[in-house]
Amino acid sequence: MTTIPRPASPSKRIELNSVVATIQDRFQGSVSLSKADAGVALSVTVSEVDSLPRLSKLLFWDLGCSFGGLVVEEIQGNWRLSYLFLAPESGWIEVILQASSSTASVPSISSEVHAADWHEREAEDLFGLRFEGHPRLGDFILHDQVWPEGAAPHRKLHRKSMDVHQAHFRHRPNPDWRPLLVVQDPGSFAMPVGPVYEGGLGQSVHFLLETVGEDVVRAVPRLFYNFRAVEKIAEGGRVSDVLLLAERFAATSSFAHSLAFCHTIERMSGVEVPARARHLRLLLAELERLRHHAGAIAGICESTALAVAASQAAIIEERLLRASSQLTGHRYLFGLNEPGGLRRDFANEDFGDLLTSVDRALGDLQVLEKRLYFTSSFLDRLEDVGIVDPDKARDLNFEGPVGRASGRCNDLRRECPYGAYGQYKFEVPREFEGDGYARLRVLFQEAYQSGGLIHQAAERLQPGPVAARCEPPPSGVALGWSEAPIGAALHWVRLDGSGLVERYRVMTPSFNNWLGFRVAVEDFAFQDFPIILATFGLSATECDR
């Protein structure tokens, strides 16, 4: 096993002042800076379009920020692009590019910031905005075999309630469509997996594993089979209805997403969430994380066909689901968050049952972990398999436990604390090998940390109101975030002048991680592919929205 040397120190905190100084120094005249609020710490407006790639490179590589996402908005016919960067422990930096409606293309930053690749492709597919210098636009969300080029359904001129067979989107499957194959060896072939695979128990993703026999040479997943245009459905909706969408587009992280959405509304209206609600939200979010990680561990055991361990982990998960349902009335914690706090309160006795369940789950997890580490046939499938080394993890901006297993410091609970996380003591586990075993260890450690946080939250609960009255203002824009079990989730909401949602943008951790998934799979054998997939624990439906 090769040892990856640990970096000397974790990511340094970057002072915003130094960022401001550096930017002003290098980009005099082409940018203007301002301190912002509503979630964003610093706004950089780019006036000279061509300096955008250099600015992105500066932020990402030189200053060490990570890339959050790209928000494309069509405001009264003009384009407004927001590139979101996270300066570690300092806050979000928004790089704004405004372009008129006649602009056909905008320079692409993907050659500098590879993590922006898919964000730009999505914008091109859904808005029709070209990114100059991006070599692979098209056939991303709107699959070429079904959709004609240039559909751009997210433009304002298309309505969401349009029926499938309406004239604007009349489309036929393209019978001559062929996938783009990269490996040119005469004996190479592309093994198709999906979109219906594993008996349908896997979420719908299509892989073409290009190979010459044993090793996978290239594996790029084809996603967006589950694309339901959540962002478009939200346009023109009431906040309470969009909250439902935020909860339900990715159910296994539903509490975290609804939390991020509520944060945007609370920020917009300037409401302070009461203390009891903050602690309760933390407790419920950690309960979701604990349950999600138990499920991910069950998935890893199942992929290696270690049946007893998979069943035991599934028992832990089912108990946590039942405990969630017993406490809140829903197994997946739907219907709890609302802007301003929680919709309901809980009696203190209810927490006794919950804590018993959590303790039992933690005990079972510890036993399971210990025995898994002694099962060498299981470890053989995980160790040194699906390696993502720290450089690639940084380059492709891996989120969540997957990134932390390759040495990244990317936990939003630490980098950008929200809710009550600033007051709690907890560790963020990191590993550096980046293989499947490291990811498994990170999952276990995070589960234990979540258990500890649940206990701390239960102790800190004081009687009090569980929601503050929050009326969303007629207009406003804000960024909200939370650390979902898979990674950092960002929600961006803009209200039009009448309190309805004008633009709802969701940047999910699965979207970022699926982009980089291929580096873990390539150059490993076919048989390792399902195991690597399980150790990543990604959700296709969260990516697809």
Partner: protein, 251 residues
């Protein structure tokens, strides 16, 4: 490796006794709203306002629930006024409105049912609940039900999700690849009426637009026991619920 054998034996049996006995452990089902009688028709119509998806209809004094539209947001359960009663059960499988009667599979399939699942835009919750059927608590193998990897060997197709446009063709191909006799079950409210996604340019609004549906299991998501009940209905070991007694159909 013998550790795992002893560990498993030591842990004991967790499996539910359903369908021999109704399972009533806490947390197995979120329950569902039932028709509630209010003191006056005006209060009943106030109860209607609680629901964001128009699943509650007022009929005189009582507010009735169309379970085919209910997304389990629990806004009629707490956090508001004029709340409805909820019942903790899980046997919800019903026959769709367009279908006269459910035709049961031949007897050979009673204890040997092979299931194919298609994720057609599902949020993940319904699929996750379907996967839980294999865990020791529910253990569908004891009832003779198995997941297959290929539709060629499948008898029943479970569709989860509102059928996103990109999954329309794969779902159709899966259905066509299944040999007769076959049945289709729409699991979850998204597969029945489209849920919160409805019918848009990217979502077909339910599986019935794409494949003929024989049974529906409402819920968002239906708990594993509800899905298990649905599978028992497929084989005829249990009867689907009658609409007049438990569910309402919207016009």
């Amino acid at each position: 490796m013998s550790f795992w054998f002893w560990h498993g034996i030591q842990k004991g049996v967790y499996t539910t006794r359903y369908p021999k006995a109704i399972e009533s452990a806490p947390g197995v089902s979120p329950g569902r709203p039932v028709a509630t009688v209010f003191p006056s028709p005006m209060e009943a119509s106030l109860a209607v306002a609680n629901c964001p998806v128009d699943a509650i209809k007022a009929q005189g004094n009582s507010a009735r629930v169309d379970l085919r539209r209910c997304i389990h947001c629990q806004r009629c359960r707490f956090g508001g006024s004029h709340l409805l009663e909820w019942r903790a059960d899980f046997e919800w499988t019903a026959v769709p409105a367009e279908v006269e009667k459910y035709e049961v599979l031949p007897h050979a399939y009673d204890h040997s049912l092979h299931i194919m699942v298609v994720d057609a835009g599902d949020c993940g919750a319904c699929l996750h609940e379907v996967k839980q059927l294999n865990n020791p608590f529910y253990n569908m193998h004891r009832l003779g039900m198995f997941f297959t990897a290929t539709p060629r060997a499948a008898d029943v197709l479970l569709v989860v999700g509102p059928v996103s446009e990109n999954m329309r063709v794969p779902l159709l191909k899966t259905y066509e690849a299944m040999p007769d006799p076959k049945r289709v079950v729409a699991v979850g409210v998204c597969a029945i009426t489209g849920g919160v996604f409805g019918r848009t340019f990217m979502s077909a609004g339910g599986a019935a637009s794409v494949v003929p549906v024989n049974l529906e299991i409402p819920g968002d998501p239906p708990p594993p026991l509800a899905i298990l009940h649905g599978l028992l209905v497929v084989t005829g070991r249990k009867a689907p619920v009658q609409s007049e007694s438990l569910l309402e159909r919207s016009a």
